[in-house]
Symmetry: C2
Subunit: 338 residues, 2 copies
């Protein structure tokens, strides 16, 4: 089956290729009557502009890239990314932009992928997640002049547009809530310590614990996987001065922590309260359902996509603050047993 081209439309409409192009792109240069006729023909023969030809003649590729840099075993289970992706799609699909995905093993590989995509002119911009301190990707994106939106930065103004949320505020809310319930020994199982948003959360956790006089704030670093979540939880529950509440940096580790507590014969929330970060269906799936710091992940993704499309259109670099995660109390938190 032959793909219709603008030449086909031009022939049927009795005009030139150029006129068809103007008509289809809403540019001035054709009369309203001709435009309507051309659009009708395009519709009728099911015309779609060849994206290669369009990209080649200097216009947009109408695609954006996303690299996922987490090991496959965690990618599979963490709802976060899929939530983000469906958010992107909602926005990109509406503008008929495509999303190109690449799974990578390291930030170095990520940089290579950016360079390749740029060289291939395959994408118009990228979405960057998991920002680190002195992230090696940022200077490369800058050098390549590749429009980008960073998700999960610290909120400090930088070279590229950021979508960030006040994670510090959310941690503070969670700790205050647990203290109000009567907890005094609160621990935390964090995500990868190199990531900027992990650092923001850790700092806020330390500060609020200090300000409420909770003694030293214990944060055990992990990596978002269930295994590490279990390991960290065991370490916390075995040691002396066992905490009565644990805040986890994602839902997967929180679920793993719940399982460890049950396996050790501790009751949740009687002996241990659990708060998860990121409220996916996973949290309401388990028993007891987990109290979580909820945010609209796919809305977050949609906002990121919108900002990226703006950046591609050459609009200003900005810092967009997304909704702060809010506490959704469920069955996994309660006052500690005397």
């Amino acid at each position: 089956m032959k793909r219709p081209t603008i030449a086909d439309i031009a022939r049927r409409a009795g005009v030139s290729k150029g006129a068809v192009s103007y008509a289809l792109n809403g540019q001035p240069g054709v009369s309203e009557a001709t435009r309507k006729r051309i659009l009708a023909i395009a519709q009728e023969i099911g015309f779609n502009a060849n994206s290669a030809a369009r990209a080649l003649s200097g216009a947009r590729a109408r695609a954006v890239g996303l690299t996922l840099c987490r090991p496959a075993r965690i990618l599979g289970i963490e709802p976060w990314f899929m939530g983000l992706i469906s958010g992107f799609e909602a926005e990109l699909g509406a503008q008929s932009y495509a999303l190109t995905l690449q799974v990578v093993a390291s930030p170095e590989q990520e940089v290579e992928v950016y360079r390749r995509w740029w060289g291939e002119r395959r994408i118009d911009g990228v979405i960057v997640t998991d920002l680190r301190e002195n992230d090696i990707r940022i200077p490369v994106l800058h050098q390549l002049q590749l429009p980008a939106v960073v998700i999960g930065g610290s909120g400090e103004p930088g070279a590229v547009t950021q979508i960030w949320s006040d994670d510090g505020g959310a941690v503070t809310e969670a700790v205050r809530y647990l203290v109000a319930l009567g907890h005094t020994r609160i621990a935390r199982v964090s995500g990868v310590p190199d990531l900027l948003h992990t650092q923001v959360r850790t700092k806020a956790f330390n500060e609020v614990c200090a300000s409420l006089g909770l003694g030293d704030a214990v944060t055990v670093p992990a990596d978002y996987t269930g295994e590490e979540g279990s390991r960290a939880t065991r370490r916390l529950l075995i040691g002396g001065g066992r905490p009565t509440a644990i805040i986890y940096d994602n839902d997967v580790m929180a679920v793993a922590g719940l399982a460890v507590a049950q396996e050790m014969g501790l009751s949740v929330p009687g002996d241990l309260s659990i708060v998860a970060w990121d409220d996916s269906p996973l949290c309401s799936l388990v028993h007891p359902p987990l109290t979580a710091l909820s945010r609209d992940v796919s809305g977050y993704g949609a906002q990121a996509a919108r900002e990226l499309l703006n950046a591609i259109d050459g609009k200003k670099v900005g810092n967009v603050k997304a909704q702060t995660a809010h506490l959704t109390p469920r069955g996994s938190t309660a006052p500690p047993r005397a």
Copy 2:
């Protein structure tokens, strides 16, 4: 920063554009010495062929498409898709093919996306999941001559390459195992009944139950989400003749089922044994860890990608049988209490 083109390489090497093209693509027409020189220059200046130009001149777009047609809320949590995707990537990345993703709401929309992609010449082939009976996507793919690989067909020979696994055999193994443990009242919570592989599993379940004299085999249809999994489980556990074992069509529903049992004060595996389909980290995360029908989902994806690349290269249409899921016993199955 200007992107290097083959013209730049040609100039530096003192040859024509054509020669560079032959050299880079491993085609005959240049001497070994010249080829080496050209490749060295390409390497040095960081050349990547403009994918648009390449696609435009009749060659491949070097991209394949995947549409995800499940509601966002389930997409987020089901590890299956992410596992598949990382499998695709392993294979596609090696050939520097890109993966283009689109989330859609219905098979009708999916067909539209295929048509658009085809018209835009954006992709060289597609991966089709969740095959239905008389699937409307198949004739369209055929009409468009779009290379495709179907994942999760029934194994019956058809118009397009299929990757399938013997789900019937796996169900049979699970039921036999439960019967060996002493169970006689075994129920099943299935995925969406329209999907072909659901039908295959249901048929096999009915057959093995009949052949083992287990009375009528109860299958409650659900949709892979946790909510539906909970609902179906409650229905099974409330009714008379409560089953002592339930087989779930995915891990998410199995976890939800576990939570329902716990919430109803039933012990797992004492009062109820649970078998999950698809062994993701989720299964070993909960307490007790779930007995599962495991298969290498990302290997499955890799195989699909390989077959798709073959189909794009015009190689034969084939039916590839992937590894059958095998039972991984864990803590959620045991003999029923007297």
